[in-house]
Amino acid sequence: MNTTKEDKLLKLNLIATTSDEKASWLKQADWNKKHELALNDFSTIAIRILSTLKKRNMKQIDLANLLDVKPQALSRIVKGRQNLTLSKIRQIEKALDIRLITVTPEKLHRFQIELALDLRHIEYTQTKIAFEQQIQKDIHNAKICKESPTYSISPAA
């Protein structure tokens, strides 16, 4: 005889345990969802720290001491389960002498490009002026020496 789904559910409800506390998997799933946008970064930072420790033959406790944090706190970081502040990331970078995150503000970036262009223009203008001055000087000398030198200009770096 086939058992109906209702019968199966009755049996399951008799044998299955339930917990009043929020399930561990659900806590983890909720945490993941809350930090969804940074989850990849937490994992990547954790792996970078672990690989640096391995390369330098350091233990997690060594880094915990350098950061002045409890080993449990560092453990959460290397498991990728800590919502890291930028300040904490900079502390880790300083302690391990590595770069984990680079912030490039857009305005500063544009400013840097404009500055670089201005510098090239100044360099070009200065080269042009120097070139013209050199021509004038050589023409002046040529009048005296009656020689004609050759000229070339290098493009700005």
Partner: protein, 177 residues
């Protein structure tokens, strides 16, 4: 073997005698631990070449696995919070495990697997016994980086878990003989 309620009237999970918690808690714990995943992929880095289209580094594999696991858990999370469609979603998530053997396999109708998504890290597996429409008992989880389950000792263990859970559920008439 103990059975824990995950989502009432639809999803349950086995807690094995050697474990302190049921297998979904274990999966959530393991796949969200970058340190453990890093250790696993460093040990099995050669196996990552199995997915030639991805060929990820160890670091990428950890990131992908965690992301995949989050997708998988999120489906259950939505159901648990009553946001998803409880009546249809589990049957869409769990697919037959023995597709190649089809009906010749004795557990074709009951052994199932779920993946978080098929693009990010297609190697995550969550195994379950199907008892009825939208009624599943989770038995375990694994990372599958081999063509067949028989090629990996960890996956063979998962097959044995499915077998023993099926035997138990048949005994108590949760699934037909």
């Amino acid at each position: 073997m103990e059975i824990a309620t995950i989502i009432e009237e639809s999803l349950y999970a086995v807690q094995w005698p050697e474990d302190d918690v049921h297998c979904l808690d274990m999966m959530a714990e393991y796949f969200s631990d970058a340190e453990k995943l890093n250790e696993y992929f460093e040990q099995h880095s050669g196996k990552l070449n199995f997915y030639t289209s991805l060929s990820p580094s160890v670091e990428q594999a950890v990131v992908f696995t965690r992301r995949e696991s989050q997708n998988l858990l999120d489906n259950f999370r939505l159901l648990a919070h009553g946001i998803g469609h409880k009546t249809t979603q589990l049957d869409e998530m769990f697919l037959p495990l023995h597709k190649d053997d089809a009906f010749s396999h004795s557990r074709y109708a009951t052994d199932t697997k779920a993946k978080g998504s098929r693009q990010i890290a297609p190697w995550i597996r969550l195994y379950a016994v199907k008892c009825d429409i939208n009624l599943y008992v989770l038995t375990g989880y694994a990372i599958k980086l081999v063509p067949k389950m028989q090629d990996d000792p960890d996956l063979l263990k998962e097959l044995r878990k499915l077998d023993s859970t099926t035997t138990y559920l048949r005994k108590i008439q949760m699934i037909s003989q």
